[in-house]
Subunit: 370 residues, 2 copies
Amino acid sequence: MTTTGRQLVSTLSQDGTLVLELQEHDFPEPTGNQVLVRMEAAPINPSDLFLMTTGADLENAEYFPGKIEMQLHPQVAAAQSSRHGKPQTVGNEGAGTVVAAGDDEMAQALLGQRVACVPGNAFSEYAIADAMMCIPLGEHTAEQGASSFVNPMTALGFVETAKREGHDAMIHAAAASNLGQMLNRICQEDGMVLVNIVRREEQASLLKDQGASHTVNSSDDDFEKQLAGAIGETKAFLGFDPIGGGTTTDTCLRAMERVAAKDMSEYSRYGSDQAKKMYIYGRLDLSPTILTPSYGFGWTISGWLLMPFLASCDMPTLMSLRTRIVDGLTSTFASSYKARVGLEGMLTKDAITDYAQMATGEKYLVTPQN
Amino acid sequence: MTTTGRQLVSTLSQDGTLVLELQEHDFPEPTGNQVLVRMEAAPINPSDLFLMTTGADLENAEYFPGKIEMQLHPQVAAAQSSRHGKPQTVGNEGAGTVVAAGDDEMAQALLGQRVACVPGNAFSEYAIADAMMCIPLGEHTAEQGASSFVNPMTALGFVETAKREGHDAMIHAAAASNLGQMLNRICQEDGMVLVNIVRREEQASLLKDQGASHTVNSSDDDFEKQLAGAIGETKAFLGFDPIGGGTTTDTCLRAMERVAAKDMSEYSRYGSDQAKKMYIYGRLDLSPTILTPSYGFGWTISGWLLMPFLASCDMPTLMSLRTRIVDGLTSTFASSYKARVGLEGMLTKDAITDYAQMATGEKYLVTPQN
């Protein structure tokens, strides 16, 4: 028996036209390890927006009920040539109730339960999910469980990555985000010292109120000096940058080198021996990353993505991360939302121009059944 | 008994004035494991030029016999604030004859021998060197042995790095340099497939004549397509870039991604899973490195320096690299020079404006006794 429901589909044409549209879809009977989830809540994460609004002219788009037609910036459209003409579902994660299950034991055990899942089409009335990847939410609401995968696993992944690489301090840019607040809590629990970079004084206060020991404001005139001061105190020679474009990563590396150079007994044209590393895990700024030649050769910059990180974990580690998330769903891993919209509501001009800005602390939640 | 001789000294003042000057220096009697080398030949490598000409206004400099006074670009001068007022000797490597030795057996054994060494003041009549780091040259001339450390160890280091990281193919930019030609020979000996990026057709021909299987010309209109073609054939997802500034590294990563994306069954907003890596080992271009958001998150860029690489090798590996270099000094590891200059000769306007260009295949050799 198939189940019919609407889901959001993003289609980019070769001419640069991007269509976001709710389409009726037939969800097949789940088999094997699959479950069919009636979706109740799904967050709009920056990673979802890449398929929805990145490079798009939202101002001059055409808005219809359940449909938006817009033009992408030619360079952005060209860079995505491999998806031209191929409809993409949207929505990494969400929560809902399992209404049908495949024959496998693990799938059957979830029948009737509320779960968090990572179906890739979370902006939908229904979704097929892998039972292995579902997290049973118990008494938690769908809203409480909607963001229990991407941000929590990412924040935990940063700390795990830092530990693996031998660090006990790290920098985080755009640190007042939902993810950043979560990371701030995790780091305090784990004894990882965190240097938070924010853009506004209110954001610094917010994080300090939540126990942050080190915050620096990139809008201050002496930002780089403040940052070097915090690095000097904490020895944070590793950082995570969701902005990507521009000079955030460059500034962090330069501040790290400033601290390291102070400890050098003689000048070296090659810079200090101190290893300095930045991970770029997002592209809030799509302009090019700029690296100045001002910190020698002892540095590494790398992309960081959740899925390869998870693939690098063994099963006991994964299970313990998952358990930790469920246990902290309303505390350490709680998310907050600015607004709730239905599937049609997320496609209005007011809503999309607002959430497309990815303003810190202004996340939207999609409630597909409303 | 001290020995007196002239050596080149580079001093940067806070006001941005850089003085290159031959100064009389008293070299003390060598002790312990030290040897005193009467320097006969030393190459001017790009890494030496950093202390001599980087950011300098050579056109409007003042030239005296054995002395140049010039102004550095303010940003370059500021970036080197930690050496303001501190005289630096210049010249990484060279060859000469051991004229005095400390008491240790290893030092004594070198007495009277011609050796290659890495004293850090090779542009000098004499140099104190560590016997452990000296390579006895046997019947080779000083000119043959002058470049037996930096370029050979660096080229061998690239291949060793590639092997350690599981690669059997790699890209090299500015590949017609002395170092590049050496790397081309080593790769053929070791079965490492090398994709050579050059800027001119003659350079491509030169490398092909020396057995190169893959060369691409960055001046061609379809350069990036050619590069992707070569990466597709060789699976070179690792590269070494001595240019640093501008878009060389970016272009390599994008071409790698183009190849990797072809093998993907579905579109991913995060790019391919193929790990892509570039090492920046020089800064022939001091302008910022530009990274476009066009190859997802599966990439790493890292500085590469010889000394940390050598520090990562165990003693047997180091000894085998050394033996291989001596055995191949007139074949695999041979260097060629455009011109020979004495200590005063290297400080003339004609000479310095020429070698400061670091033109491919136009290396200078300093002969301090002439």
